[in-house]
C-alpha cells in the first residue's frame, strides 16, 4: 500500500507570511510545477511555530510537516527565525528519538522571491515523506487517522 504510486502524502506547511507564504504564492501564480499536496497555514513569523503545532499536525494524521521562514538575517522581526530554528532543531531531534521519522518534520528558509526554491522544497519534502509512507503513528489499529 505504501508503495502505491497513487498515494500522495498530506503535508501541512506552516509558512511565514513575510516570505515563504509569498514564495509559495509566487510559485503558484508563475505556474511552477510542484506537488499540490500541501495544506498551507499562514503564520505571522516562523518564530510563531510551537513544537506543539508540529505534534498536533502529526496527531491529526498529516504525513509530514514543513515549517518555512525567512533566511537567517532576514526576519521581519529580526530574530524570530533564529528562535524558531532552535525549537525546530530540538523538536526534530527529539521526535526522531521517540520514533518519529525525521523526514516527517521538515524546515526550510524560502524568501518571497524564491518561487523556484519553494517548488523544489515541496518536491523534496514530498519525496522524502513518500519514502517513509503514510503516517500511522497515532492510530490504534495501524490505520491512517486522517479524518
Amino acid at each position: 500500500m505504501e508503495q502505491n504510486s497513487e498515494w500522495k502524502p498530506q503535508i501541512l506547511g506552516f509558512l511565514c507570511k513575510w516570505c515563504s507564504y509569498a514564495g509559495a504564492d509566487l510559485a503558484g501564480t508563475s505556474r511552477k510545477k510542484y506537488p499540490a499536496n500541501m495544506r498551507i497555514m499562514k503564520i505571522p513569523c516562523s518564530g510563531r511555530i510551537a513544537p506543539l503545532f508540529i505534534l498536533k499536525a502529526l496527531r491529526m494524521g498529516f504525513d509530514g510537516v514543513l515549517v518555512s521562514g525567512c533566511h537567517p538575517g532576514d526576519c521581519h522581526y529580526q530574530t524570530g527565525n533564529y528562535r524558531a530554528r532552535r525549537r525546530i532543531a530540538l523538536t526534530k531531534k527529539f521526535l526522531e528519538y521517540i520514533g518519529i521519522e525525521p523526514q516527517r518534520v521538515q524546515a526550510s528558509w524560502v524568501s518571497a522571491s524564491e518561487a523556484n526554491k519553494f517548488a523544489q522544497v515541496s518536491e523534496e519534502v514530498t519525496k522524502e515523506v513518500k519514502e517513509v509512507g503514510p503516517n500511522r503513528l497515532f492510530s490504534d489499529n495501524g490505520q491512517n487517522i486522517t479524518g
Binding site: P51, L52, L55, K56, R59, P72, G73, T79, Y82, R83, R85, R86, R87, I88, A89, L90, T91, K92, K93, F94, L95, E96, Y97, I98, G99, I100, E101, Q106, A107, S108, W109, V121, E124, V125, L137, F138
Partner: protein, 320 residues
C-alpha cells in the same frame, strides 16, 4: 551522607534565623515511611532541629520557591541549585530573595533499586548503611552488601555538578557521586539501538499506563506555568480523557518545554506512580541540548535562557 553534615546544616540554619537573614528555610525532614524524607518549611531557629540530611533527600526543593513570600533559605543539592539558577534566569525567583544553603551531594540512594535487588519492599528493610563504595542492607537476619553504583539513582551517576556552584553557604566539603555515565545512560543507549518503529512501540506501551495525574509536571521545579497547554480548552490540544497518543504528546511537549532548564534531577520519574521511565525522555533532551547548543541548564544565572537566545549560525544542517 553523614551526620556531621546534618548537624552543620542545623547550626547554619539557626544562625541564619538569628542573624535575621531568612524568614523561613525550605529543607527536608524525616518522611512518614522508612527511608523517605519530605519537604519541610522551617519558620524559626527552634524548628531547625527537624532538618535532616541523609541519603534519601530526593525531592528537588526548588519547586517550593516560586510561590514563597519573604526571604527564603533553601537547602540545595547540586541539581537543586541548578534548578534554582534556572528559575532565576526565568525571572521566577529573585537571587537576592533567597539564601542558598548548598549541600554537596555524593548521590542519592534509590530505595526502589535496593528493593528490586534484594526482593523486598522498602518497609521490609531494617537498615541501609552507606559505606564507601557499597551499601549494607539489613533485613531481619539477612545482611547484604550492594555496590553503591547499583543503588544510586541513575541520574546521580552522570552528575558532575553535584557540589552546588551557586550558593551562599556550602555545608561541608565538595563531594561527588561515583560517576558512571554508561550506566546512567544505559536505558537511553539501549533505546537508540532500536529501530524507529520499536522505539515508538516502546513509548506507546509506556504511555498506555499514564493516568494523567500530572505528578511528573507538578513536581518539576521548572514546570511553573500557571496554565499548562494540556488544560487549554480553546483550542483544546489534547483530549481530556487519557489515551496513549495524547499522553505521549503531553510528555514530548513537556520534555521540549523544559529543554535547557531541566537539570536531570530525576524528580519526574520518581514521582510517576505507574513507573514510566520519564528520565529517558528528559535526559535525552538534556543531551541533545548539550550536543547542539553546548548548553547546560542552570550553570550560569547571568546566561539568557536557552530558548530565549540563539547563535546566528547553528543547526543549519537541519534546515533546507
Amino acid at each position: 551522607m553523614d551526620k556531621i553534615l546534618q548537624d552543620n546544616l542545623r547550626k547554619e540554619v539557626k544562625a541564619l534565623f538569628e542573624q535575621k537573614k531568612v524568614d523561613l528555610v525550605i529543607g527536608y525532614e524525616t518522611g512518614p515511611t522508612k527511608f523517605t524524607t519530605t519537604p519541610v518549611l522551617i519558620k524559626n531557629s527552634e524548628e531547625a532541629d527537624r532538618l535532616v540530611i541523609n541519603d534519601f533527600i530526593t525531592s528537588n526543593l526548588a519547586k517550593m520557591l516560586v510561590k514563597i513570600k519573604g526571604k527564603a533559605g533553601i537547602v540545595a543539592k547540586g541539581c537543586d541549585s541548578r534548578s534554582i539558577v534556572s528559575l532565576i534566569q526565568d525571572h521566577k525567583v529573585k537571587r537576592e530573595n533567597i539564601v542558598i544553603i548548598g549541600v554537596p551531594c555524593s548521590g542519592i540512594i534509590d530505595v526502589g533499586k535496593i528493593s528490586r535487588l534484594i526482593g523486598k519492599e522498602p518497609d521490609e528493610i531494617d537498615d541501609i548503611t552507606r559505606e564507601k563504595d557499597a551499601v549494607l542492607v539489613t533485613s531481619g537476619s539477612e545482611k547484604k552488601s550492594l555496590p553503591l553504583k547499583e543503588v544510586l539513582y541513575e541520574h546521580c551517576l552522570a552528575c558532575d555538578l553535584s557540589t552546588p556552584a551557586e550558593c551562599d553557604v556550602l555545608i561541608g566539603e565538595p563531594a561527588s557521586p561515583p560517576l558512571d555515565k554508561v550506566a546512567s545512560l544505559a536505558k537511553i543507549n539501549e533505546m537508540e539501538k532500536m529501530t524507529a518503529e520499536q522505539r515508538w512501540q516502546y513509548w506507546k506501551e509506556q504511555m498506555q499506563r499514564c493516568t494523567r495525574c500530572y505528578a511528573c509536571r507538578n513536581v518539576c521545579p521548572v514546570c511553573y506555568c500557571e496554565r499548562c497547554f494540556v488544560e487549554e480548552s480553546e483550542p483544546q490540544w489534547i483530549n481530556i480523557a487519557p489515551n496513549w497518543q495524547d499522553n505521549l504528546i503531553f510528555q514530548v511537549i513537556r520534555s521540549i518545554h523544559v529543554a535547557g532548564r531541566c537539570t536531570d534531577c530525576g524528580n519526574c520519574e520518581r514521582a510517576c506512580p505507574v513507573g514510566i521511565p520519564l528520565r529517558s525522555l528528559v535526559r535525552k533532551m538534556y543531551d541533545i541540548v548539550d550536543e547542539m547548543f553546548h548548553y547546560k541548564a542552570g550553570t550560569n544565572k547571568d546566561d539568557l535562557p536557552l530558548m530565549a537566545s540563539y547563535e546566528t549560525r547553528e543547526a543549519e544542517e537541519l534546515i533546507r
